[in-house]
Symmetry: C2
Subunit: 236 residues, 2 copies
């Protein structure tokens, strides 16, 4: 039986051997939800970069650029970190460079995996369906917040483990914990997350609408995958 | 209001500033449960050391020595890692040197804290009562398993947060997660832990009796505290 495991933050990635594993990176609020939305709306590619400087360099070379730090858009960039900004026909076929506080770093740290996929509640079923057809173990890498664990990405990991539980065993405590938290909270994720730190951070910024959107399950049949240094939409 | 936070594994301790914090180290299966039991039965002091070699050096200088690696007793030492081994009147007043896979390392990594306390379900109420009288924030450091998170130490952290919830706020997601897992599992911790990795490891070694013992709440009114390089029983 294949295994599914969860790395609760990129600061624990050194404990995992990702070389024979498919990594699913989740930064539910909001980087990976933005990426999934962007591909659903026709974006051509997204280059995740770790630093604002790299992002600016790509912007100068003609990419549409999105940079977020501490949940706010960095000045001088084209796109912010709200998924609604990516529902724009002008982005059809566009190549985007993106850096965020946590999510893009998690992607760039996973490069040695068999495949790096981008997960969110929005494409939960698409990810689960794709993985069912693969022979590799799965590691869900939660982007967290500056090295710390967060509840929303952990809940996504638990949701994916729940969808895959007939075909993937949960041997490690991190995946058990994520799965139990998801089962505990799934009836009302918004209220379950109400006390979480990043929710409070986002609410201070007035983006409850983004939160509700990012918690919707299975909106898009899209699996973004890292090819070289760019994310592209996988042909399903 | 004071804060309580949880560090889910020593590999995340770099994210926490422990200098103005009381750290409660938990290695429920079984190091900190052994320590609490030992003090309840009259042991004088316990020196936690990180390596088997240091432990052997102290043994040669006259200490009773306990060394565990991978849940097994290392050959040539006086005591094993079962709490029942510490219910022995010959240990009354004795000085013990101890090294374990995870627990003693967590203690030695926390030295810069205001105080380092040793927690387990066995002395949960004693720890909570002591903390209520203190003015410092609290960090529960879960010993985990070789850097990974584990369910049993996380449940202890959640149990302590639950006891302190009227006086300590839970601002970080790690403590929220621990608290929710404890609330989810507290009615029957043994069955809640049945699928956990270390339980399976211990059951292969045939020590179900230790597991049931270590999950009992509030057996001893004992708070072990680090003084210099030795744990001693705090005068309450």
């Amino acid at each position: 039986m294949k295994h599914i495991d969860v790395c609760l933050t990129p600061d624990l990635l050194h404990l995992h051997d990702v070389d024979n594993t498919i990594v699913v990176v989740a930064d539910v609020f909001r980087a990976t939800s933005c990426m999934v939305t962007a591909f659903a709306y026709g974006v051509g590619s997204i280059i995740p970069v770790a630093t604002v400087e790299e992002c600016r360099n790509l912007q100068e070379r003609g990419y549409l650029a999105a940079a977020e730090r501490n949940a706010r858009t960095v000045e001088g960039f084209d796109l912010d970190n709200s998924p609604f900004s990516y529902m724009d026909e002008r982005l059809d076929g566009a190549d985007i460079a993106m850096t965020t506080t946590n999510g893009t770093l998690a992607i760039t740290k996973s490069r040695s995996a068999v495949k790096v996929l981008v997960g969110s509640f929005l494409n939960l079923d698409a990810i689960a369906n794709y993985l069912r057809g693969q022979s590799y173990d799965v590691l869900v890498l939660c982007a967290g917040w500056k090295g710390r664990v967060n509840l929303e990405d952990t809940l996504f990991a638990g949701a994916l483990a729940d969808r895959l539980k007939d075909e993937y065993s949960m041997m490690e405590d991190s995946v058990l914990m994520a799965h139990r938290l998801y089962c505990d909270g799934k009836e009302n994720l918004i209220s379950y997350l109400a006390a979480a730190s990043h929710i409070r951070r986002l609410q201070r910024l007035g983006i409850q609408k983004d939160i509700a959107y990012c918690l919707q399950h299975d909106l898009y049949d899209v699996v973004p995958v890292l090819r070289g240094n760019a994310l592209v939409k996988m042909e399903l």
